[in-house]
């Protein structure tokens, strides 16, 4: 134990509180972002698991059917054949009560015993009463007391539910007291008898699924069940189904994680910066220690230890911040999942030790990695007492070409990594490779830029300008890193900004092209449950006879099974005007439409085609109510509506293969001269109390779609801001360190006759130059990142192609941001320099 060495270094950290604190803050922010995203992702995953678990119970298998569910007689058949003694029918669906989206789970209490334990949560002595009410009282539902108090309901009170836009009256028959670990999963759950569920959901005669417990590994038992299944029904392991659902959100989670790693990366730059600076500053001291007989390993351990100390403290702070941040983030993540994938009723943060541990590991590991270079540099310092800085900078200068070489190599490897395959993770590896390569090139770029800028600034600002620029160049070992950190953060904003901007414009153009009808009508439903809802047929008939409507298209989204996965099907009866709205990416209209309209053929969206490797002319297999059937792919169309892809099928073909004649949405084409807004009013009046409808004109639908889009990217923007925050802290600390270190030099200048104002000018010119440089360097990298994000990441994650659109605003914003950050960072050192009496600064040596 070299306690004195440690003591010396601890005191050093203590004497430089700003530097130490800022780099701690940088790591803390980086770790916080990583942890928050990790926790948010994990919480969303866990929420999903929990809500699945609550409704799946102990089922090992499930029998599932087509979009309309199963014919209910299948259950009696299974029971009466004795094929599945442990089986339970389920009717479930989404309903809304006021602003709340709830899941209604209809069960048969007589079959539930081995599956779920809802009535077991009845308060003592009330089980029998609840059961009797559940079975005999129409509309009776149970819920957890948490939910009841959230909805402000009392036992016996009635509760109005909106199911597929239709009002239904339910009664709160009783409240359940689930144990705490089960309570979270029940926060959006209404439990009812299966008869009640069928009646409330309007699904008489159908089951959503049949849960089974089959003896593990008993193929015969599964076989006996399968032998009784009609075409279109299938037996599937319960876990497989949950996995298939979860798989849909994977790309989304990977994207978020990558964004968070970027924040950590910037944080790592920050700590690298701090540590290399402190090593440089203590060069002589370290030399002295070496002369005194401290070994290389001692010095290495010393610097690593300091870094680890800062890293560990920062990480601890980061974990704390991360959990706080995650509270907010999980809302955003849940909302996005609700918008895009499926309704996730359960929400809340579930911090897991594993998630926190991963964050801690990344924080400490990242710090270690960042400190490795300065530490080994320190260990290599010769045991020399007197070293002049120019020699160190000289060495750094000599390193520039090899660094630049390594950077170029890094970029090359990154680009090579992109060539094969479609791995999303590899795409992100390449992204980070690009960033790393670019940052290695930064010192060379800074050297070059300052050489070029010196005469320019010199002619503009005279000796100040030259001094400022030379100062940047003279301390390249630190300015390079600071500029690299800032430019990476900025390039991330440029990259993400360009990507989002391009995406947004593409979506906007697509919406304009696709939404051809003048008015869209659908029932009011929780988001992403359109496949459960349908329009009242009588209402459709009534709308048909409204004068002024020239044509009507009809749509019905449905989830159907295909192999092991779920395919989102969109059955559509196109109106004459609908055809022009479909942008075909593969296939020519002349050949596609006759196929689509008359043959056993479908259109697949671009992401669907990408995910399944399909092209026009191929065929795909779907499980229909008539059994497994092949459908020809007539063409591929552009669609940004669903990242998991969608298959469009003409309504008549859909109804031929699936026992489902419901219609979810209508597109109304108005006759010329009919005012859309007036028609919307008229339709609302027509619907009256029959069904709550969402009737939107073309324009409002487009607007609300864009709102959803913007909401989806809200989380991206938050992460972007956080990355900038980390970088800002980075540049602040780097520049402050740089300027404080130059205290003596500036004091000499003051002594020579520089006014405080001139010192201000010098410092701000210098930091401003660095900010400008960072901003300029960020632009090419940012554009490269944008290309990568659009053409590789987005394509691999979602299968969307889009055009790169260069929004000038984003670039200007990045430059401004860089300048602002740099100037702001120069404020304190300049202020301090300017007001310190020169003698005080000179006395230091």
């Amino acid at each position: 134990m070299k306690t004195l060495l440690w003591r010396a270094s601890l005191r050093y950290l203590g004497r430089h509180p700003w530097q130490t604190g800022l780099s701690m803050l940088g790591i803390a922010l980086g770790v916080a972002v990583v942890v928050a995203v990790e926790l948010a992702n994990e919480s969303a995953r866990r929420a999903f698991d929990l809500s699945m678990q609550a409704v799946t119970g102990r089922a090992s298998h499930q029998i599932i059917g087509g979009p309309a569910g199963l014919e209910e007689s299948l259950y009696a058949r299974l029971r009466r054949q004795g094929a599945a003694p442990l089986s339970a029918p389920v009717v479930s669906g989404h309903v809304t009560h006021g602003d709340y989206s709830l899941r209604l789970l209809g069960i048969d209490p007589f079959a539930e015993r081995r599956f779920r334990n809802f009535l077991g949560y009845a308060p003592d002595g009330q089980g029998e009463g609840l059961l009797r009410q559940l079975l005999t009282r129409p509309g009776a539902v149970l819920m957890s007391r948490t939910l009841a108090s959230r909805l402000g309901l009392r036992v016996g009170g009635s509760l109005e539910l909106l199911v597929s836009g239709r009002k239904r009256q339910a009664v709160l028959a009783g409240v359940l007291h689930p144990p705490p670990q089960k309570a979270a999963a029940m926060t959006d759950l209404l439990v009812a008898d299966i008869a009640t569920a069928q009646e409330l959901l309007g699904r008489l005669g159908r089951l959503s699924r049949i849960d089974l417990i089959l003896p593990e590994g008993d193929r015969a038992a599964a076989g006996a069940v399968e032998a009784l299944l009609p075409a279109g029904a299938r037996l599937t392991p319960a876990a497989a189904r949950a996995r298939a659902m979860q798989e849909m959100t994977r790309a989304f989670a990977v994207n978020l994680s990558a964004m968070s790693l970027l924040a950590l990366l910037v944080g790592m730059f920050l700590i690298y910066n701090t540590m290399s600076f402190s090593v440089l500053q203590r060069r002589e001291l370290l030399g002295t220690l070496r002369v005194l007989g401290a070994g290389r390993r001692d010095i290495l351990a010393l610097v690593l230890g300091e870094g680890l100390l800062i890293g560990a403290a920062g990480t601890a702070l980061g974990l704390l911040l991360g959990v706080l941040l995650a509270q907010e983030l999980v809302q955003l993540v849940t909302r996005t999942i609700n918008d895009l994938y499926f309704t996730l009723g359960v929400s809340g943060l579930f911090p897991t030790p594993a998630g926190l541990a991963r964050g801690a590991l990344l924080g400490v590991g990242g710090t270690l990695l960042a400190v490795l270079a300065p530490a080994s540099e320190a260990a290599c310092s010769p045991p020399r007492a007197v070293l002049d800085r120019s020699r160190i900078e000289g060495r750094a200068g000599r390193l520039i070409p090899s660094l630049a070489g390594a950077g170029a190599g890094c970029i090359l490897v990154a680009l090579l990594l992109l060539l094969p395959g479609r791995s999303l993770v590899l795409g992100f590896v390449a992204l980070f490779g690009l960033i790393l390569g670019f940052s290695l090139l930064t010192p060379a770029a800074v050297a070059l830029a300052s050489r070029l800028a010196a005469p320019l600034l010199g002619s503009l600002l005279g000796v100040f300008g030259r001094m400022a620029v030379r100062g940047v160049r003279a301390s390249l070992s630190r300015t390079g890193v600071a500029i690299a950190a800032l430019s990476i953060a900025l390039s991330a904003t440029v990259g993400v900004g360009v990507m989002v901007g391009s995406f947004r414009l593409s979506v906007q153009q697509w919406l304009e092209a696709t939404l051809r009808a003048d008015i869209y009508v659908s029932p009011v439903t929780p988001s992403n449950t359109g496949n459960e809802a349908s329009l009242d047929p009588a209402l459709i008939a009534a709308i048909r006879s409204v004068p002024g409507i020239a044509g009507i298209s009809q749509g019905r989204p449905a989830n159907v099974q295909s192999g092991e996965g779920i395919t989102h099907l969109y059955a559509i009866r196109m109106a004459r005007g609908s055809y022009a709205g479909v942008e075909l990416l593969e296939g020519r209209p002349g050949t596609v439409w006759p196929l689509f309209d008359r043959e056993q053929a479908v259109l697949v969206s671009e992401p669907y085609a990408y995910r399944h490797g399909l092209h026009a002319g191929d065929s795909l297999t779907l499980d229909t109510d008539r059994g497994r059937r092949e459908f020809r792919v007539a063409g591929v169309f552009r669609d940004y509506g669903a990242d998991h892809g969608v298959v469009n099928m003409r309504m008549s073909l859909y109804r031929q293969y699936w026992d489902d004649d419901s219609v979810y949405s209508l597109g109304l084409y108005l006759e010329p001269g009919v005012d859309a807004d007036t028609m919307v009013e008229q339709l609302y009046a027509l619907a009256g109390d029959r069904q709550a409808l969402r009737i939107r004109s073309n324009r409002t639908l487009r607007e609300s779609s864009m709102e959803t889009f913007d909401r989806t990217f809200a989380i991206t923007n938050v992460l972007r801001l956080l990355v900038i925050a980390v970088a800002f802290v980075g540049i602040l600390s780097a520049l402050m360190a740089l300027q404080l270190e130059k205290a003596r030099e500036l004091a000499v200048l003051r002594a020579t006759g520089f006014t405080p104002g001139q010192i201000w000018g010098l410092v701000t010119t210098q930091t401003g130059f660095m900010g400008l440089l960072a901003g300029l360097l960020a632009i090419p990298l940012g554009l490269m990142l944008a290309m990568l994000l659009i053409h590789v990441i987005n394509w691999r994650a979602f299968g969307w192609s889009m055009d790169v659109i260069l929004p000038g605003g984003v670039l200007a914003e990045a430059l401004l941001l860089a300048l602002a950050a740099a100037l702001l960072a120069g404020l304190y050192p300049a202020w301090r320099m300017a007001r310190t009496p020169p003698a005080l600064a000179l006395r230091q040596e």
């Binding site: 209910e72 009696a76 209490p109 007589f110 009535l119 089980g127 029998e128 609840l130 008869a195």
Partner: protein, 374 residues
């Protein structure tokens, strides 16, 4: 009368517990039988007020206007080589509320069903009991009069070509019998009206088919046996319950080798004494039926069996009917024939030996002991 209270249970406290608890044995703190005889209120249900003629096959089917009903099959069987078995298969119907349920769902019903299936294997000293519950809707459980069909899942009684087929199956165990009546149905009580207490309407309609020739197959632990023997059917429906001071009952169904059959149930009061509404009948081979009142039958417990789950059951009896000069001893083929199900009770195969009018008689039968299991 006897299993009436069992069926009433369907409406009561334990049910909810059973339906939702993944564990099989009921908790030791389960309410006693006396506590859970509440059930659905009687208002709105039909009541058995006066005797009525039974009409078959219609009355073999269900009477959903009454709250409770059951089809109770018990019997003694043996293989060609003389190996003995006892069986019990009973279907209970219980309405949670009177009238037809409101609502359009095919699952909507007030009718609930429970069935118990037990096999006694005295040779191996094993006793097996199973139960099933279901709603009486969506084709899961129910009753149809013509052709007769009573079912719950894959357990059923079904009429085919004038014969009844009785079937139940669990993993490793099954019962599949063909039953043909050897006697016409015998109305019990006052021409079929069986009073349970002094309160009017607290009565049931009750008939028995005391002798059914049984032939078929049973499976125990996966091994099948061809069997034949005699079975007994008890049918009862009504809207009644034990009176407040009644604690349980002992029920005898005995088939004697001189061609006579005896049914007698003794209602026990909480104070330990016999209830005056205990009743039964003596049915001879030529179709004569002698009604027996509480005072016509003298019962004496000879031996108790203590259940490892608690409670002790009077399993050996001396039964005398002085007016008919009958003196019988009743002994179980094995002691432990306790059904540890939603409700815990003892129901098992018994041997009978004794004298009537100085002539020795032997026989077999079933004994049910309820209200002891705590």
């Amino acid at each position: 009368m006897r299993p009436l209270a069992l069926a009433v249970l369907l409406a009561a406290g334990l049910l909810a517990w059973w339906l939702f608890s993944p564990r099989t044995p009921p908790p030791s703190d389960a309410p006693g039988i006396g506590d859970i005889l509440g059930g659905a209120p009687e208002e709105g249900f039909e009541r058995a007020l006066a005797p009525r003629p039974f009409r078959f096959p219609a009355d073999h089917g269900a009477h959903p206007g009454f709250r409770n009903e059951w089809w109770y099959f018990t019997g003694n069987l043996q293989t060609d080589r003389g190996r003995r078995f006892g069986f019990q298969l009973v279907f209970f119907r219980n309405a949670l509320a009177p009238g037809k349920a409101d609502g359009q769902s095919p699952w909507r019903t007030h009718q609930t069903w429970m069935a118990h299936f037990a096999l006694t294997d005295p040779g191996a000293g094993r006793f097996h009991a199973f139960e099933r519950l279901s709603r009486g809707a969506a084709g899961l459980a129910g009753a149809r009069p013509d052709p007769l069909e009573i079912w719950l899942d894959d357990w059923f009684l079904k009429e085919k070509d004038g014969r009844w087929r009785l079937y139940a199956k669990e993993k490793g165990f099954s019962l599949s019998l063909s039953l043909s009546p050897r006697r016409r149905p015998v109305p019990q009580g006052e021409a079929g009206l069986s009073r349970k207490s002094a309160a009017p309407g607290n009565a049931s309609y009750y008939y028995s088919v005391p002798r059914l020739r049984a032939q078929g197959r049973i499976t125990l632990d996966g091994r099948a046996h061809r069997v034949s023997g005699l079975a007994w059917l008890d049918r009862e429906w009504g809207t009644s319950a034990l009176a407040d001071d009644q604690a349980g009952w002992d029920w005898f169904a005995l088939q004697l080798d001189n061609g006579a059959d005896l049914m007698f149930y003794r209602l026990r009061r909480k104070d330990g004494g016999p209830d005056p509404h205990s009743a039964g009948s003596w049915m001879t081979a030529d179709g004569r039926v002698t009604r027996l009142g509480a005072n016509d039958v003298r019962l004496k417990v000879l031996e108790y069996w203590s259940s490892p789950r608690g409670g002790r059951y009077p399993v050996r009896w001396r039964l005398r009917i002085p007016s008919l000069d009958v003196d019988l001893k009743v002994a179980p083929v094995m002691d432990n024939q306790e059904l540890d199900l939603l409700v815990r009770y003892w129901e098992g195969a018994v041997d009978v030996a004794g004298v009537q009018a100085g002539k020795p008689v032997r026989g077999r039968g079933y004994l049910e002991l309820a209200g002891y299991g705590d």
